[in-house]
């Protein structure tokens, strides 16, 4: 290359032309496979908590609140958009979007929640699981209808009593 070889950059620049975009005045350049914010369909969600266990940064958390409610909270601020929750959701309640323009001046905009009513035990009236998860279990495994109405504690006791009867032992009570 001659002494003035580097002037070739002008040719390169002319060929490349203008590559910057007028974003935000034109649509952003995200590919079809881009992973953005998730959306939780509250009609489908059963409150099982699989997504909470899979979520690496704790963007999804679950807590029992008030009288008889279980709340699934999604905080976009912690989300790393890995979509593991979508992989593990048993009822396909979580959908991925390509949305990424999430900046806001109000931190509450970053919170989302699905409120579930908890199931109550027919025996002791204690709260357990959620109404929807109970329905899901009954639908998937009808055989469980004998004990799905009871909380895990009562279920355990019932089972123990059944064993005792079979073996001719005495009840603990």
């Amino acid at each position: 290359m001659g002494k003035l070889g580097f002037v070739k950059i002008l040719v390169i620049a002319a060929e490349a032309g203008r590559v910057t975009r007028k974003y935000p005045y034109e649509p952003p350049l995200v590919s079809s496979d881009f992973r953005g914010k998730i959306e939780i369909d509250e009609t489908k969600c059963i409150g099982c908590g699989s997504c909470v266990l899979a979520c690496p940064p704790n963007a999804l958390v679950m807590s029992d609140e008030g009288e008889g409610y279980r709340v699934l909270k999604y905080f976009v601020g912690r989300c790393i958009f890995c979509w593991r929750c979508i992989d593990v959701c048993p009822v396909d309640a979580i959908k991925g979007t390509r949305e990424f323009e999430l900046a806001t001046d109000n931190v509450e905009d970053l919170d989302e929640a699905v409120i579930h009513k908890r199931a109550s035990c027919t025996e002791c009236n204690g709260l357990y699981s959620t109404v929807k998860q109970k329905a899901y279990v009954m639908e998937k495994a009808p055989i469980t209808e004998n004990y799905v109405d009871k909380c895990p504690e009562c279920r355990r006791n019932k089972l123990l009593r059944a064993f005792e009867k079979r073996r001719g032992g005495e009840s603990l009570e």
Partner: protein, 542 residues
């Protein structure tokens, strides 16, 4: 497969030097040695057997066997072997002889072990290395009885590396709007010549190892691992996943291995394009910077298409990958690569045709071969100094054994050599992706049964754009018992002192950048004592 003769040689050597145990599995040799005999064995491995030093990992094994343990990991790259040397020590008097005088590359990791696990090293100067100066004495974060969320409530304190009272000190860094990452360099100059270098890093230590060992699960850690680095994240998650897979002997479907290799090479291309741009910028050739990054943008779009995120995040799991490559994507990759290759060649030709640029690159920041060997430097820094090492070829992982590629080696050890290594590697990566896409096998991309037994040990390496990543894992229940990470910059920063001394001040920013440092994945301290007539603090400009 590793030659049996070579393993036998190692067995003989280890036993003749008093090793108490020897085992071999796959590409790793395990040796247990007494404290008194460690130095002899280290010397034989590092200097007689010509092994490189990868890193060391101190582990609190009191819950398993009541001891603290130190694993020195050597690498016999020519024979494709990892050599793990284990030494035990009692928790109440945890003294192990230092090997940093025999193996200079072990300097940093010994200090790290001292700070985080509380292993004392005899025969060397020990000082606070990673933790803040006001951290309570006797509190070791990586001991198993320290909770991960314990915060000792430190008083805020200032910190100076040098005690000499010099007026007119402008403290630029560690946190400063002009810096991209927190780090702190002090260059001591006489006239225009640099006479000494001091580096203080470690401002962004995030306790990743501790977090993974205490509150995350195996599959969650993939997403933590890729966040070790902002540029070569995928390398870390591959390295983590394949180390666990190796420990648990999980068979990963071939297609998944091919996809990993392809994405790894995409990452290498964008990382090197980024670096070439930055180097041009530091030399005042901003045209080159703009064009390099323009080309890089095509690759970033490709990364997003392949992984769902511009930063190649989120597709690795233990046992495989989550995203497949279909015909449409394959076509897009090949199209993009063609454009990138054509544009990149033109750009490099033009850049290297700028005489001022080449003059400033040639003969500056020299790292001689012997020094590079002594410090076991990795990646383009090693290959620019005549060390012919590349994990992709020496210990093939993912699908690299299916591709043919040349490892570029330049002997001059200057900034130009390191640039040329990276230029060659970009073209090499493009060729590797083409070869792998061509052979991409059909099938699943995720292993079916994934069971990870407790108490297994494995170490593996991945050639990241900056050099070799080393991960070391002891498996535990539901999460690793110990997970040790060594990022490439950790191994390369000590070489900066040699590169910078005697150098013109004006060349310093480029030389510092020439190792392509990544501080958030390294984050350690380096302190060098020496005469300081004048003092100058220089922000790294990228």
């Amino acid at each position: 497969m590793v030659n049996k003769q070579i393993i036998d040689n190692y067995r003989e050597l280890a036993l003749s030097l008093g090793a108490s145990d020897f085992a071999h599995s796959g590409d790793t040799v395990y040796i247990v040695v007494d404290r008194e005999r460690l130095r002899g064995l280290a010397e034989a491995l590092y200097w007689k057997k010509n092994c490189y030093f990868r890193t060391c990992a101190a582990t609190d094994e009191t819950k398993i066997n009541g001891f603290l343990a130190l694993y020195h990991i050597f690498g016999d790259d020519r024979n494709g072997l990892n050599i793990v040397v284990k030494t035990y020590t009692e928790p109440n008097n945890p003294v192990i002889p230092s090997i940093s005088d025999i193996v200079p590359a072990a300097d940093w990791c010994e200090l790290e072990a001292y700070d985080l696990v509380g292993v004392e090293f005899s025969g060397r100067k020990l000082y606070r290395f990673m933790l803040p100066p006001t951290w309570p004495k006797g509190l070791y974060p990586l001991r198993k009885d320290t909770p991960y969320n314990y915060r000792p409530g430190l008083p805020v304190s200032g910190e100076r590396i040098s005690e000499s009272p010099v007026s007119a000190v402008v403290p630029v860094g560690p946190y400063h709007p002009a810096l991209h990452e927190p780090e702190y360099f002090e260059l001591y100059v006489e006239g225009e010549k640099v006479v000494d270098v001091k580096y203080r890093g470690f401002h962004v230590h995030r306790g990743i190892e501790k977090l993974a060992e205490t509150r995350m699960t195996y599959q969650q850690i993939n997403f933590l691992a890729e966040r070790i680095c902002g540029i070569c994240g995928f390398e870390h998650s591959v390295c983590y996943a394949q180390t666990v897979e190796k420990a648990a002997k999980i068979d990963v479907p071939e297609r998944a291995l091919f996809i990993r290799s392809i994405v790894l090479e995409v990452e290498r291309i964008h990382s090197h394009l980024l670096w070439i741009g930055v180097a041009a910028h530091l030399l005042g050739y901003d045209t080159g910077f703009m064009h390099s990054w323009r080309i890089r943008e095509l690759v970033m779009y490709l990364a997003e298409l392949l992984t769902g995120s511009r930063k190649t995040y989120g597709i690795n799991l233990i046992g495989g990958v989550r995203k497949d490559i279909n015909e449409e994507k394959k076509k897009k990759i090949l199209e993009t690569l063609e454009l990138v290759e054509k544009d990149f060649k033109k750009l490099v030709d033009t850049m290297l045709g700028v005489p001022e640029l080449v003059k400033r690159l040639k003969g500056t920041g020299i790292l001689p071969r012997e020094e590079a060997r002594k410090l076991s430097v990795v990646g383009p820094v090693a290959r620019g100094s005549g060390l012919d090492r590349d994990i992709r070829r020496d210990l093939p992982y993912a699908a690299y054994s299916y591709a043919e590629f040349k490892v570029p080696v330049y002997d001059d050890g200057d900034n130009l050599s390191r640039l040329l290594v990276r230029v060659d590697e970009v073209l090499g990566s493009i060729s590797i992706i083409r070869q792998l896409l061509d052979q991409l096998p059909r099938g699943e991309i995720m292993a079916e049964d994934i069971e990870i037994p407790e108490g297994r040990i494995a170490t593996s390496s991945v050639e990241a754009p900056r050099g070799e990543n080393v991960h070391f894992i002891i498996t535990g229940r539901g999460k690793p018992y110990r997970w040790r990470i060594r990022a490439p910059t950790y191994q390369n920063i000590p070489a900066l002192k040699i590169m910078l001394e005697g150098e013109n001040l004006a060349d310093a920013p480029l030389t510092i950048a020439s190792i392509d440092p990544c501080f958030s994945c390294t984050d350690r301290i380096y302190v060098i004592r020496g005469g300081n007539r004048y003092r100058m603090i220089l922000p790294r400009r990228y």
